[in-house]
C-alpha cells in the first residue's frame, strides 16, 4: 500500500564535488541535498518538504570512507552508519562512536543512512513533521508546547518557542569526542567544532545545524584527544529498534588511580542540541570515581531542567543515566 507518492522533483546524481556545489548554488533553497535518504524521503512522501531539485550526493566518491590521519581519523560524511559501526579502528580507539552508530534505527536503515545525514537530520517533533505551521516551519505557534500537546519526547532545556530535541544518536558522541565538521561550498571550506555545528532555536529556529543551503558537509574529523578512553553510551527508547532516544548519554573518561583525570560528557534527547554537561565535568574532574561523585554529577546534570506537561520522567531518567556514566564507564 502506498499512502503518498512523492511530488515530482528533478534528480541529479553528480559524481564530482564541483558539480554538486554548482547545483546547490543554482537551486538555493529549492535544492535538497540527499545522502542515504532516510530522513529526506519521509519528508517528500509526507509532502511537507517539496524541493524542486534533489541532489543525490552518494555518487561522490571523495565523500566516503574512513582514513587514519596523524591527529586521529577522518570519516567521509557519506560513510554509512554500518561502516562506522563495523570499522576496526573506530571500534578499537573510538568505540563510543561505533556503539552509538549501532543504536541508530534498524540494521537496514544503518546500511543506507550516513554519518553526515545522521548528524544533519531534522527534528522529529511530530507536529513539525506532520506539516503543522509551527515556528520551526516558519509559523508563529508551537503545537507541542500547549496544555494538551503530546510532548513526552520533547525538551527539558533551552526551549525558545520551539521545544524539539536533537534526534541524532551520533550527535552527542561527536560533541564528546571534540569532532570537527568540515564544510564546503563553492566559495571555499570552513571547519566547525561539533559543539558549534548543532544550533538551537535561539540561533535559527528553522534549522538544526549551521549548514547553509549551498554547503555540503564533507568530512568529520575525530581528533586523538579521547582515543582509547573509557567510554560509556546508553540510549533509552521505547523500543530497542527504530525508536529515537528519549534520553541518551555519551561520555569519555581517563581515570588515574581511581580518580577522574579527564572527562567529556553530553546528553541527547533533552535539548535541541546535544547537551554538553560542562558543569558535570567540572564537578567530577579530580574526584574519585565513586557512588558519591556519581550522585553529585546526576544532581548537577538536571539542575535547571524545565519539563513540559508529559516529559517529567526525563528528569530522573537523565539524572540516572549521568550517574551510570560516571560510575561504570
Amino acid at each position: 500500500m502506498i499512502a503518498d507518492m512523492m511530488r515530482n522533483f528533478e534528480l541529479y546524481q553528480p559524481s564530482r564535488m564541483e558539480d554538486a556545489l554548482a547545483l546547490l548554488d543554482r537551486y538555493g533553497k529549492d535544492g535538497w541535498r540527499m545522502a542515504g535518504g532516510k530522513d529526506s524521503l519521509d519528508w517528500f512522501k509526507d509532502r511537507v518538504k517539496n524541493p524542486k531539485a534533489v541532489i543525490d550526493l552518494m555518487g561522490i566518491a571523495e565523500l566516503k570512507g574512513i582514513r587514519e590521519v596523524k591527529d586521529g581519523i577522518e570519516i567521509g560524511a557519506l560513510t554509512t552508519l554500518t561502516e562506522v559501526e563495523k570499522h576496526p579502528l573506530i571500534q578499537k580507539q573510538y568505540g563510543l562512536l561505533a556503539t552509538a552508530a549501532r543504536r541508530v534505527a534498524s540494521p537496514q536503515i544503518r546500511n543506507a543512512g550516513t554519518l553526515g545525514g545522521n548528524a544533519a537530520q531534522d527534528a522529529r517533533c511530530w507536529y513539525y513533521r506532520d506539516g503543522f505551521p509551527c515556528y520551526r516551519a516558519g509559523g508563529n505557534t508551537c503545537y507541542a508546547d500547549t496544555p494538551e500537546a503530546m510532548n513526552r519526547e520533547h525538551t527539558l532545556f533551552g526551549a525558545d518557542r520551539c521545544v524539539a530535541v536533537t534526534p541524532s544518536d551520533t550527535a552527542p558522541v561527536l560533541v564528546v569526542l571534540g569532532a570537527k565538521m568540515v564544510i564546503r561550498s563553492s566559495k571555499g571550506e570552513r571547519v566547525v567544532e561539533a559543539k558549534d555545528f548543532f544550533i538551537g532555536p535561539g540561533v535559527d529556529i528553522t534549522r538544526m545545524t549551521v549548514l547553509e543551503p549551498e554547503e555540503i558537509l564533507t568530512t568529520i574529523q575525530i581528533p586523538k584527544t579521547w582515543a582509547g578512553a573509557q567510554f560509556f553510551f546508553e540510549k533509552i527508547a521505547d523500543r530497542q529498534t527504530w525508536d529515537f532516544a528519549l534520553v541518551s548519554v555519551a561520555s569519555a573518561m581517563f581515570i588515574k588511580g581511581g580518580v577522574i583525570d579527564r572527562i567529556s560528557i553530553a546528553c541527547g534527547g533533552v535539548e535541541c542540541v546535544p547537551r554538553h554537561l560542562k558543569v558535570v565535568e567540572d564537578i567530577v574532574r579530580g574526584e574519585k570515581q565513586s557512588e558519591e561523585t556519581a550522585d553529585l554529577a546526576g544532581q548537577a546534570a538536571v539542575r535547571g531542567a524545565i519539563p513540559l506537561n508529559y516529559n517529567h520522567f526525563k528528569v530522573p531518567l537523565m539524572q540516572n543515566l549521568v550517574k551510570r556514566a560516571i560510575r561504570s564507564a
Binding site: M1, I2, A3, D4, M5, M6, R7, N8, F9, E10, L11, Y12, Q13, P14, S15, R16, D19, A20, A22, L23, R26, G37, K38, L41, D42, F44, K45, A53, V54, D56, M58, G59, T82, A105, S106, P107, Q108, I109, N111, A112, Q240, T241, W242
Partner: protein, 219 residues
Amino acid sequence: MFDQKELRRDPVPAEQAENRSMSALNPNISRRDFIKGVICSGATVAAAGYMLQGGQALAAASGTVERLVSLNVNGQVRRVDVLPNETLAMTLRYKLGLTGVKLSCDRAECGACTVLLDDMDFYSCSMLTHSVRNRKIITVEGLSSPSGKLHPVQQAFVDELGPQCGFCTPGQVLSAVALLKVNPKPTREEAALAMSGNLCRCGAYDHYLKAIMRVAGGV
C-alpha cells in the same frame, strides 16, 4: 508526429519547456533530439545551459538522470522506465512484477520491503530506484534455484514452521541471508540484532531465529 505549434499549447514541465525554447532558438533541432530530451528526467535546465555554452554532453557534466535505466535484478538485466521520485519497491513490485517485495509502512519502519543490494539488506520503500542502478538487486524470487529448489534459509524457515501469515517472510528471509553471508555462525543474540529491522505481526520471531540457528548449525 510532433507539431511544434501543438506542443506550445500544452502545459509542459520545465525541462520540456526548455527544449521548446531551444527548438524555438534552433529550428533545426530534430524530432529525435526532442524526444531524447523528453525521456531524460527533469533537470535539464542546467544542462541546456552547458550544452549551449560548451557543447559538452550535459548528462555527464551535471549528473542529471536518464529515465530509461538498466537494473540488475535476480541475475537478469531489466530495462525499465523510472521516474526520478520512484522508490525501488514501486519499481520492483509494480513495474517488474516482483510481488515478493511487500509494501507495508512505506516509511522504513517494518522491513516487509527488504531486498538485497550487493548482498546487504535494505528497505526498498525508502530508496530511490535511480540510486541502485549499479548494484546487484536480489528479491525473494531470486533465491531459489531455477529448478525450484529452495535456498537453505527458505528451507529452514519451512522446517521450523517459520511463517504464520507469511507477509513479513520475504523480508525476514532476505535479512537472514544477508546476515549469514557475513556471519555464517552467528550467536542467537547476533542473529536477533541482525533481524531486528523486520517486524512480524504474527510474532513468529522465535521460529525465524530457530531457523537461522538451524542453517548456521548445519542441522
